[in-house]
Symmetry: C2
DNA sequence: CTGAAAGCGCTTACAG
DNA sequence: CTGAAAGCGCTTACAG
């Protein structure tokens, strides 16, 4: 049955008839043991409860199931708290490879992954580890940030602020650096208090809004490092009777589903998370299925696009 | 190593020393083959991209990893489109059991699951199949609906509408039936056009809002079968310059993260999805680990609670 | 092209 | 309490 084309037609028919008759189902545990393949890969999320990852999972799962592979899921917290080692998934033959969506792994864990016997089959998606040499798939964070700042600039904003993601997060860092860089390119002023620290969450967006309200000299537009930040920011402003985009324009990054339905709907930078998942899965599968081939596509950077909605508008100079 | 307590201490030490020295890792494929257990369970979602399920997954995953089990994920669409059979996961020894979060499976698929050799290890969570005999875990849909209607009634609303979930969905049906029933109990009027068909999505909420706007005699409060519906409903009303709760009170069901941050924040019926996931996993594991024991807890119904926020208020009679 | 044998790495029962 | 043997159900190489 593994190689149906090398036997005669009559034998093939007899075999397939017998399969139907007896209801034979292959036993994957036996096959996995014999082939030394788990025929499954592990996807590691920072936090299973975060809906941001749903679409990426969908993309990964689609690709894997088309190749007959299963998708195992774990979250960083759990692996740590349960005392399991991440590298065990590879070493104990539970998974043939790993897609890691968490760039915030402990240095110690990263080290153990780097020297794992199956280190070649570890790939980062969305986030990545600065300094480590794992292949990765990510969005155009810099270009997306430039698009955001340019959009606000083209609306007439000259005082633009930024709410960052969590300190030490690679995405947050990349977006913040690109933000500062683009402001310089456009020769826009940047006061240090216009950069407000956050952490990608709704709650952090609320706190950032309070910081914005407390400023003497407020930016007329704010680029948030995630949509959730932006949504929380807008919500808190609204509670203090500030209107978006009338008093301040607000942008996010990600374009999650809710952004379109929020009031006001949110201008954002769209990442195609489904495609990101599919790309990650296909890159990893390529390595697993042809382990000897030298593969050159080490980092895939996927395009993002500006989605203009109601939360950004020309600055309302009289009010600011 | 499977039974460390039946050997002498000295032997035990020698074994564990050797394990450390050689870096021995158990091969799970071999263990799975020998024990005839996959040590993993499959979670089937209707749609991986739907963030509603994230917290349930987190709950399931926590419980499973505490028992040394892995979590496999698939979505109904994919299983169908890839031509795989759902029942194969059980039959080919990939999974020891299944938690199904989709009550909308084809009758044919349900039938194949019912006569599966491992049918005892299939459990429904959140949704369920009317007429089938699988164990299930669900929230108090009826009681939650009663709490919602009572809340609106106690605010003074006498004309209460409902936006339903998808036709044929068990949750939608349960909530709609309970809604009609509670209105009768409270002796409230119910016009047939006050029940608006939806499908749990943001987009359906928008369409339902248009239907509400088009009514001659509008309900002063609307109970939506999901938070996403309610959020879409509010968004669309806002685009037509209707204010919630001033022109109409709106409630949801689920209490998803965004509901707290929406403008206005959403009054809802809270389901503890994390706990639901943990309960489902624990019920299933009990069956898997003691297959001979007769287990009586066939259906677990978990409590829900009313969360009052800004989207509901006393009716504004002059405006309606 | 076909059939029988070996072996993947465990666990379990059994003999000593 | 300890050690050696059998076997889970496949796949792969090998002999016919």
């Amino acid at each position: 049955m593994s190689h149906p084309n090398i036997v005669s037609t009559s034998t093939k028919d007899r075999v397939f008839d017998a399969v139907k008759l007896t209801g034979y189902r292959i036993n994957r545990a036996a096959r996995n043991l014999r082939t030394q393949r788990a025929h499954s890969i592990l996807v590691l999320l920072p936090d299973l409860a975060n809906p941001f990852f749903s679409n990426i999972l969908e993309g990964i799962s689609r690709y894997l199931s088309s190749k007959g592979y299963s998708m195992l899921i774990a979250s960083t917290n759990q692996v740590h708290t349960s005392g399991e080692l991440l590298v065990d998934y590879l070493d104990d033959a539970r998974a043939d490879g790993m897609i890691i969506l968490d760039g915030g792994l402990d240095a110690e864990v990263v080290k153990s992954l780097e020297k794992a016997s199956k280190a070649k089959f570890i790939l980062f998606a969305c986030e990545w580890i600065e300094g480590a040499n794992f292949p990765s798939v990510r969005s155009e964070n810099e270009e997306g940030t430039r698009k955001a700042v340019k959009h606000l600039h083209s609306l007439g904003h000259r005082k633009v602020g930024h709410v960052t993601g969590p300190k030490n997060n690679v995405l947050a860092q990349a977006r913040k650096d690109a933000f500062i860089c683009e402001l310089k390119t456009l020769k826009l002023e940047l006061k240090s208090q216009w950069i407000i620290s956050g952490d990608f969450s709704l709650a952090a967006g609320c706190i950032a809004a309070q910081a914005w309200i407390a400023l003497d000299d407020r930016p007329t537009a704010v680029f948030c490092a995630s949509d959730q930040l932006a949504l929380g920011f807008i919500a808190e402003l609204s509670r203090h009777d500030y209107n978006v985009p009338y008093h301040v324009s607000v942008m996010g990054f990600d374009d999650i589903d809710f952004s379109e339905q929020y009031i006001p709907s949110l201008t954002s930078i769209r990442q195609d998370r489904l495609f990101l998942g599919e790309t990650a899965a296909s890159m990893l599968m390529q390595r697993i299925e042809s382990p000897d081939k030298d593969i050159h596509d080490h980092t895939a950077i996927l395009p993002v696009s500006l989605v203009i909605r109601e939360s950004t508008a020309p600055p309302n100079l009289e009010k600011c």
